[in-house]
């Protein structure tokens, strides 16, 4: 049995090795969409429901892909163990919020145009990243991890603090909303469909009317159309971030980053100012994390609950699955994590509740009540307990643990981590001119 699993794994890796990155990503996307379409059909969703399911996994996959790509630059390429991902994400979102929410809302913002808010958020996250890296430059491995983790918690608790719920600077009042959170500007995709994109109650524009009408006719409601359009835009953003980081990696700059990861002393002895490179990598990576977080939360609520260390942990798991050091692997890891491991358990719960009659109010409230009936071969209470609303996030963690243990034992380099992504701006696979020179 286990031999067969290993064979399967070997076949999978062989298959992975032989494909071009584009083909790989395409096959992955088609596979995931087919799977989730299938699950939606099993659940009896109509077309609107199916589209909404696909919208959700696309959205989450894109956000995670961006986060994982940014972390891959820091950890996969440079070996910087940044455990403060969530903190830098929070800096991006909150800065954007404070710059761009209207002065009339509670908490108030500065009411600047959204592009300025987004740019400001990204720059703030990059600057905070650069500053955070300064004391960390002398630290390696675990110590850097501890400092960045503590830093992200300080950021989160600062945004949560009642002191900053609303405050004024130079006569302008703004705030973070403290523990209640901050409602962020509306999703910019609304510009396409509404007359006044910033008003939630705005009537649709002529184009919006036409599009909504068309899709309404086949059962896809307006919010789903809007969300799907946004998810598609995000895919293009991911492609942009991917192209950027690929260029960074395939360059003399990327070569120095790899050298720092392998042996910082050697990089220094070869004349590279490693501290400067590390600050730049922190700034760039953290800026991208801020951007991903802005795109994640925009149109909704910024709440410090979203930026707990668990978020950092999720991004790391996704990177480990995809394979640290590989940009394509990062995208694969982000998509696989977000759709199968993050969203998967919810769908399992829905499917199980559809086919197993658990009975309302029959879900046991403790593990003992759930396990007890096993003595009489009754597994329903345990099943009900496992997939209950309260426990589904715990189930996700159990699943993550299993996947991590399996990967570390059988494929520690992740799905694509063994791939070489050449650190040069030119092809190194053969010598131009060859032997006759």
């Amino acid at each position: 049995m286990s031999a067969r699993v290993d064979d399967g794994m070997a076949a999978v890796s062989e298959w992975f090795d032989g494909r071009s990155d584009a083909a790989l990503l395409l096959v992955l996307a088609v596979g995931l969409y087919a799977l989730f379409t299938g699950v939606s059909l099993v659940l009896g969703y109509d077309l609107g429901g199916i589209v909404n399911t696909l919208r959700r996994i696309t959205f989450l996959s894109a956000i995670y892909a961006m986060l994982v790509l940014a972390l891959n630059l820091q950890w996969g390429y440079t070996g910087l163990f940044n455990l403060g991902v969530a903190g830098f994400m929070a800096v991006g979102v909150y800065t954007m919020g404070m710059l761009s929410t209207a002065p009339t809302t509670n908490p108030p913002g500065l009411g600047l145009p959204l592009p300025i808010g987004i740019l400001g958020g990204v720059i703030a996250a990059a600057l905070v990243g650069a500053v955070a890296s300064l004391p960390a430059l002398r630290l390696r491995g675990d110590y850097l991890a501890i400092v960045t983790l503590a830093f992200s918690e300080i950021v989160r608790l600062t945004y949560r603090s009642p002191v900053f719920e609303t405050f004024s600077v130079a006569g302008l009042s703004l705030g973070t909303g403290g523990s209640t959170g901050m409602s962020l500007p509306t999703n910019p995709i609304r510009i396409l469909f509404y007359e006044n994109s910033q008003e939630v109650t705005s009537p649709p524009s002529a184009f919006g009317e036409a599009v909504f009408g068309t899709f309404e006719a086949i059962g896809v409601r307006a919010p789903v159309v809007e969300g799907t359009a946004y998810a598609i835009v995000l895919l293009f953003v991911v492609a942009g971030v991917y192209a950027l980081l690929r260029r960074v990696g395939n360059s003399p700059f990327g070569r120095v980053l790899k050298a720092i990861r392998e042996d910082e002393t050697v990089a220094g002895a070869l004349g590279k100012d490693t501290r400067l490179f590390k600050v730049k990598v922190f700034a760039l990576g953290c800026g991208l994390m801020g951007l991903a977080a802005i795109l994640w939360r925009i149109g909704g609520l910024a709440s410090t609950a979203d930026f707990r260390p668990i978020t950092t942990f999720y991004v790391f798991v996704a990177l480990i699955i995809g394979g640290a050091g590989s940009n394509t692997g990062s995208v694969v890891g982000g998509a696989v994590f977000a759709s199968l491991l993050f969203e998967g358990p919810n769908f399992v719960r829905r499917v199980v509740t559809q086919y197993v009659d658990i009975g309302i109010g029959q879900t046991p409230s403790t593990i003992f009540e759930a396990v007890g009936p096993l003595a009489s071969l009754d597994v329903t209470p345990l099943l009900a307990y496992t997939i209950s609303d309260v426990n589904v996030s715990a189930l996700r963690l159990v699943l993550l643990g299993v996947v991590l243990i399996y990967l570390i034992q059988n494929r520690p380099e992740g799905l694509l981590g063994h791939r070489t992504e050449t650190a040069a701006s030119v092809d190194l696979s053969e010598r131009p001119g060859g032997e006759d020179r």
Binding site: L244, R247, V248, S251, P252, F253, G254, R255, V256, K258, A259, R261, E262, D263, T265, V266, A267, G268, A269, L270, G271, K272, D273, T274, K280, L284, G325, T420, T422, A423, A424, S425, V426, L428, S429, R431, P432
Partner: protein, 280 residues
């Protein structure tokens, strides 16, 4: 006399390895009264010596004599407690390693430190000075990247030539981690040669290298010296020191014990005493 500030890292990459300095007669490296203690142990205790241009100078001494620490102090891996290091007329005391390297003074390590997960070619191409593509914006922005690509093509050719010179070209696409001990030593040398420095400090370059390869390596060192490179060599193999180095400096307990030609050193009673640890 050059008075380069410590921050100017951007030495021109195409600077010839041969000495073109007007002050060609002055020693390339001057080490004065260098001291370094770790807790109660004094590793280097007032070492003073000079290395002339175009020599392969040997640095020997029994274990614990302070050879490796002296290397660390000269190349900036560690900071001396007191003393002075002057390289090519510039006081480089307390410079960080990358600054010394960009000034033309580089080192290899006693235990070969390869960048395992990088290919041999990537290892070699990492080293050169003044790579425009090490600037993040230039590496990324369209348009200016053309210049990076052009320089990369040059570096790739230079890397191939260096690997050929050291007979590593058949391994160019292998991961450095897959190399044997001797091949790693060659790759270390290839890397520092790619920097095109003026002086190379070699920390036991022949340890763990088989006799055939050793001959080859020494042969290369001589031809490089003839091209104008200067070497300071730490080695335990006395035959190598006696046959290939001139002059030889003997360190003992952090001080320079004797300095002179191989014959002088070989026949000095204090050297024997230092190595054998007793009266002769």
């Amino acid at each position: 006399m050059t008075t380069t500030a410590p921050d100017s890292d951007d030495a021109p990459a195409d600077e010839s390895a041969a000495t073109t300095d007007a002050d060609a007669d002055a020693p390339l490296l001057q080490v004065r009264e260098l001291e370094k203690s770790f807790g109660g142990i004094t590793a280097v205790d007032g070492a003073t010596f000079e290395v002339e241009r175009g020599t392969i100078t040997g640095l020997i001494g029994p274990n614990g004599a302070g050879k490796s620490t002296t290397f660390d102090l000269v190349t900036g891996v560690q900071t001396p407690d007191s003393g002075q290091v002057v390289f090519d007329g510039t006081d480089i005391t307390g410079w960080r390693p990358h600054q010394a390297a960009n000034r033309g003074l580089v080192r290899t390590f006693q235990i070969a430190r390869e960048l395992d997960e990088m290919t041999v070619l990537e290892n070699a191409m990492l080293a050169p000075r003044g790579q425009v593509g090490e600037n993040l914006w230039r590496a990324v922005l369209p348009g200016v990247r053309k210049e990076v690509v052009r320089q990369e093509e040059q570096l790739r050719e230079q890397a191939w030539e260096t690997l050929e010179f050291l007979e590593l070209d058949h391994l160019a696409e292998e991961y450095a981690g897959a190399l044997s001990g001797g091949q790693r030593k060659l790759l270390e040398l290839a890397r520092v040669l790619m920097i095109e420095p003026e002086m190379i400090l070699l920390d036991e370059p022949l340890a763990g290298v088989n006799p055939t390869l050793e001959e080859k390596l020494l042969d290369r060192l001589h031809s490089l010296r003839d091209d104008g490179y200067t070497f300071l060599l730490v080695e335990h193999d006395m035959d190598v020191i006696m046959n290939h180095c001139e002059p030889v400096i003997v360190l003992h307990q952090g001080e320079v014990l004797v300095e002179g030609s191989p014959e002088q050193v070989k026949n000095d009673d204090r050297v024997l005493e230092a190595y054998l640890g007793g009266e002769v």
